[in-house]
Amino acid sequence: MECTLDAQSLISISLRKIHSSRTQRGGIKLHKNLLVSYVLRNARQLYLSERYAELYRRQQHYPDGAPLLAMPACPPPPAAAAPPELAVLPLPTDTQDREARSCGAVRSGAELLEVPVCAVPPELQRAPCRDSSPGFYRATGSAGPGGGGGGGGGAGAAPGLLYPAGCDFGSGGAPHCSSRTTVLDLDTHVVTTVENGYLHQDCCSQCPCCCQPAPGLASPPPTPGTKRKYYPGQEEEEEGVEEGEPGGGGVAGGPPFAPCTKRARFEEYSTEHPQDSSNISNLISIFGSGFTGLVSRQQADSEQPLNGQLCSKQALASLGAWTRAIVAF
């Protein structure tokens, strides 16, 4: 099916729809927003596949990348265990360090990612929105670190893969690099497209906090398993509303369910969160981490959860300001 819009336009249109649904009469329509999130996911997959393909093409022209080119054209089957390079992906703490380390890590990550790309692009071009793009996210164990430790010095194209604006094309960047990001500003409701324009630290800081909806970038990432109290749309809010909560319409029929539980939950909720729709925030988290769930569900059962998480984080990092804009919902 031909689409007259490119992935980026689709993404910005979708974001606009989600945003405008907040002010719609009748509240957020869960069904519609879920469908929009699917379009977002599909468009994002295409966008990323295009970026990877672009990276691969650019790699061909960079002498620095020669060692990378030495990799086999057809990747061997993915390794069973996550390669150590992936585990090394840092959670940078300061800008300078970030640049160097992430570029390096990305470079190594990129080369790992690059290998499946060379196998995948033809299919991607044909059906870029396919769910089954596991080759994308699957890291191959055979890819050696190569020049991965080279870091930012090379100013190679590799980092640009995951940080489209940040560390790569900085100084020596290819002049034809046209990395753009689309940002939805929730305060002014303006959608803008930024060229190489956002701070590298934005994307890096998202990595640990990809599940954190609050713009509390300083707050530590939640330990897995703990309740994220500030997170709108948690169970407590839902339950508090549904269980006999008067809808404000003054209709008769008192709370038929456990009022004590409801009250406790309601108090817990009300102290923490300003009025917001639980549904839209849930969808935000879908963008943040639920895509992991969406993507990983589509993939083969043998898929490594580690790969899935890291890859989504990488992908998210590349979305950078987008995620912040969405997450700030």
Partner: protein, 448 residues
């Protein structure tokens, strides 16, 4: 009945009536949001975005004017739902009537269920043609009389009066849905009904408003893992323990309430494998089912997604037995339809009385009928231009590419603001009601 179950080529559809104003600007409140015949076809109810219900009643057929087969005239109008405000979530609850379902008639009064996003109401519609006169303590205007002035006692008597149709809310079923109600369905036991929202289905007893049983709950423990929602639900027409619900992923689940209290595990799961060559950005959207209907026989279910109508045999879960293309020419336009939100339109579908023909709406005020036996289909239009009494509707055709013939309309000329989402078919006769924005068209087959 003449004309009942005829083959497509034998049925000529004629304009009968149109209800609603012709104003250029359509008030949003007047947009019809649901249409439903009652079980005998004597009554036709519509709900609109303004929360009003209008009931039409069919006139008795007159021997003097046999060609005017029972026209539908306004019988009762009432405000069913009002806008509400949910203070906890700071959300307005729309008064739009999402669905109306009739109860079978058991006495002189008529009963129907109407629902908005959050609250279901049971309405009693009854006639009053007598009133008591001759009270002792109050006079004819209702003013109290001074007891000391009363010298004679009399017994009040019932006197005839002009027919008055009253609608009174008999039950209000509220506070049971966190998400938006999309369906209600009366059980064949006539004692219970269900209401379905995006994630849950509740079972109610008509007599009890402060309790309902939750029979389906697909809400994930972690909302981040949400991948599908419930889009429609319906009880089996004869088996009071069986119901189906459709999902946004294009699947249908049939559940048996006898197996467990919470019917999270389906008895049957209907899904057609996706055709990978049709994959696109919008595959998930166009596969979302917008309506599901049991056939009158109870043997089949029909589902509507954005581009097709499918008929499923209850005994075969892996694919539908029939698939009909409603407007496949839109497949290449999905991008634009996504931009203008049309891709989210929820079309309904209906069976005719004998389950031989199915009908659904499209854009440009077109609606389509498919004869399951002959495999013939027809596209008709609800428009004021074709609104002369008993004028025969001419089949319409959309030109997909190449040369456009004289009477054809090209895809790019279609008016996507004129959509037929809601239609209804009389339970036993060839009479259809088609809602076109704020107008209700009634078509009948030609009486020979």
């Amino acid at each position: 009945l003449a004309g009942f179950g005829n083959l497509m080529q034998d049925v000529l559809w004629c304009f009968s009536q149109v209800k609603g104003t012709i104003d250029i600007g359509v008030a949003e409140a007047d947009i019809i949001s649901t249409v439903e015949f009652n079980h005998t076809g004597e009554l036709l109810a519509t709900g609109d975005k303004g929360g009003r219900v209008v009931i039409f009643q069919r006139e008795q057929e007159s021997k003097n004017q046999p060609h005017r087969r029972g026209e539908y005239n306004v019988y009762s109008t009432f405000q069913s739902h009002e806008p509400e405000f949910d203070y906890l979530k700071s959300l307005e609850i729309e008064e739009k009537i999402n669905k109306i379902r009739w109860l079978p008639q058991q006495n002189a009064a008529y009963f129907l269920l109407s629902t908005n996003d959050k609250t279901v109401k049971l309405w009693k519609v009854s006639e009053r043609d007598k009133r008591p006169e001759g009270y002792n303590l109050k006079d004819e205007d209702g003013r109290l009389r001074d007891p000391s002035m009363i010298t004679v006692l009399r017994v009040p008597v019932l006197r005839p009066m002009d027919l008055m149709v009253e609608a009174t809310p008999r039950r209000v079923f509220a506070n049971a849905h966190t998400y938006h109600i999309n369906s209600i369905s009366v059980n064949s036991d006539y004692e219970t009904y269900m209401s379905a929202d995006d994630l849950r289905i509740n079972l109610w007893n008509f007599e009890i408003t402060n309790q309902s049983f939750n029979i389906v709950d697909i809400k994930p423990a972690n909302m981040e893992e949400l991948t599908e929602v419930i889009t429609a639900a319906e009880f089996h027409p004869h088996h009071c323990n069986t119901f189906v619900y459709s999902s946004s992923k294009g699947t249908i689940r049939l559940c048996d309430m006898r197996t467990s209290a919470l019917c999270d595990r389906h008895a049957k799961f209907f899904e057609e494998p996706e055709d990978p060559s049709n994959r696109s950005f919008f595959s998930e959207i166009i596969s979302s089912i917008s309506d599901v209907k049991f056939s009158h026989s109870g043997r089949y279910i029909m589902t509507r997604d954005y581009l097709t109508v499918k008929v499923w045999d209850l005994n075969m879960e892996n694919r539908p037995i029939e698939t009909y293309q409603v407007h496949d020419y839109l497949r290449s336009k999905l991008c634009s339809l996504y931009e203008n939100d049309c891709i989210f339109d929820k079309f309904e579908c209906v069976w005719n009385g004998s389950d031989s023909v199915i009908m659904t709406g499209s854009y440009n005020n077109f609606f389509r009928m498919f004869d399951r036996n002959t495999k013939r289909d027809v596209t008709l239009e609800a428009s004021r231009e074709n609104s002369k009494p008993r004028a025969i509707l001419k089949p319409r055709k959309v030109c997909v590419g190449g040369k456009r013939r004289k009477d054809e309309i090209s895809v790019d000329s279609l008016d996507f603001s004129k959509k037929i989402l809601h239609t209804a078919w009389h339970p036993s006769e060839n009479i259809i009601a088609v809602a076109a924005t704020n107008n209700l068209y009634i078509f009948q087959d030609k009486v020979n």
